[in-house]
């Protein structure tokens, strides 16, 4: 018997219940059954499993993200509409030194970067030490990098590593 | 108030449709293949939003599933196209 990945199974059961918008013994039982079946069937497709610690840190992370999404939307809207106060937006790539190396942590970081308009993921250097992003409007680059690492990378490091 | 809500719905749908029109123009003018793929992706997302607004206007949950499907797999086409541009084929050995 292989080890059952608990978080994944639970997530799948949750997904099942959410989809069916129903909470009954039958639906939970079927959800568990289905999730276990699936998880076991594809176990070999997921050779690397995340080891999660400090999962509770995800909540402030999410809150930060939501605020950032709104702010960055505003920023992008300004650039698109040309409301940047006589200033030409400077777009380009920036490199961020990276400490996070867990693949799942990186994946979440990618989600975050993608979810905030104005930044997009341009890849990690082969050695895994530098993250390159594309920014629509680069202002005060160093400050931005510091804040980014502070708000996201550090929390992800605590969750995944 | 519901009339205003109706207008808002109409407004949202019109905006989404215009957004699709913009995406279509980008799809036509390119200039690079990746621009077209980006426009394609944008079309899909706009389509998903349109489905959601249709769901709101009909007050039916039936549209939710479609939006769900686009959310889940709408990216597959984009990824396939991008992979094709990047690697020359969608599924590598």
């Amino acid at each position: 018997m292989r080890q059952v990945p608990l978080y994944l199974t639970l997530a799948l059961v949750g997904l099942w219940l959410l989809l069916n918008a129903e909470l009954s013994v039958l639906s939970i039982a079927s959800g568990v059954l289905l999730a276990l079946l699936l998880v076991l069937a594809i176990a070999r497709l997921r050779p690397v499993r995340p080891r999660l610690r400090h999962v509770h840190l995800a909540i402030p992370l999410l809150a930060t993200l939501l605020v950032d999404i709104v702010l960055s939307n505003l920023a992008v809207a300004r650039v698109v509409l040309g409301l940047t106060r006589n200033r030409q937006a400077r777009s380009g790539f920036i490199d961020i030194p990276l400490e996070l190396s867990d693949p799942h942590g990186l994946a979440v970081l990618a989600v975050i970067v993608t979810a905030t308009p104005g930044t997009s993921w341009a890849g990690v250097a082969p050695d895994g030490r530098v993250l390159r992003l594309h920014m629509l409007d680069i202002r005060n680059e160093d400050e931005w990098i510091r804040s980014f690492k502070q708000r996201y990378e550090r929390r992800l490091l605590r969750i995944f590593q | 108030m519901s009339a205003v809500f109706g207008y808002a719905l109409w407004f949202a749908q019109a905006c989404i449709a215009i957004a699709m029109l913009n995406a279509m123009i980008r799809l036509f003018i390119g200039p690079a293949a990746q621009d077209r793929v980006l426009a394609f992706d944008s079309l899909y997302m706009n389509g998903m939003l349109l489905l959601l607004t249709l769901g709101i206007s009909s007050m039916s949950t039936a549209y939710f599933d479609m939006a769900l499907l686009i959310a889940l797999f709408g990216f597959v086409g984009t990824v396939a196209l991008a992979r094709f541009l990047l690697r020359g084929e969608v599924i590598e050995p």
């Binding site: 809207a77 993608t114 594309h134 | 949202a12 426009a39 709101i56 991008a82 990047l86």
Partner: protein, 117 residues
């Protein structure tokens, strides 16, 4: 329109959310259309993926909860799926653009993607 039966606690925030969604979608698509280079253009549609999608989903949740008479939250799944799948598309597109820009500078890829077709 059958939305006449909806209560005010739905229609007022709903109206705002839908208007927001419409405006952000429009601005996002304008970004796609107007911005100068490909990498910049990518940021436009991501407005649609985030605020516009979020606002619409919230509106949808409000309406369906009102119709069903109980909180309906399965729209969250859409938000989850979009946010998880969007990076895949974005990453691949950026990589493709980077590769093709490089290749074009070395002069053997046409602009329309027909290089390997």
């Amino acid at each position: 329109m059958t939305t006449a039966v909806l209560p005010l606690w739905v229609t007022i925030p709903g109206t705002v959310l839908l208007a927001l969604a419409g405006v952000t979608t429009l601005i996002g698509s304008l970004g796609l259309l107007r911005l100068r280079d490909f990498f910049s253009r990518m940021h436009g549609p991501s407005m649609t993926n985030t605020v516009a999608a979020g606002a619409t989903l919230l509106a949808s949740m409000l309406v369906s909860s009102a119709v069903a008479g109980r909180p309906i939250i399965h729209e969250l799944l859409i938000a989850l799926f979009v946010s998880v799948s969007a990076p895949l598309a974005a990453i691949m597109l950026v990589q493709a653009a980077l590769y093709r820009n490089k290749a074009r500078h070395s002069g053997d890829v046409t602009t329309d993607g027909s290089s390997s077709t």
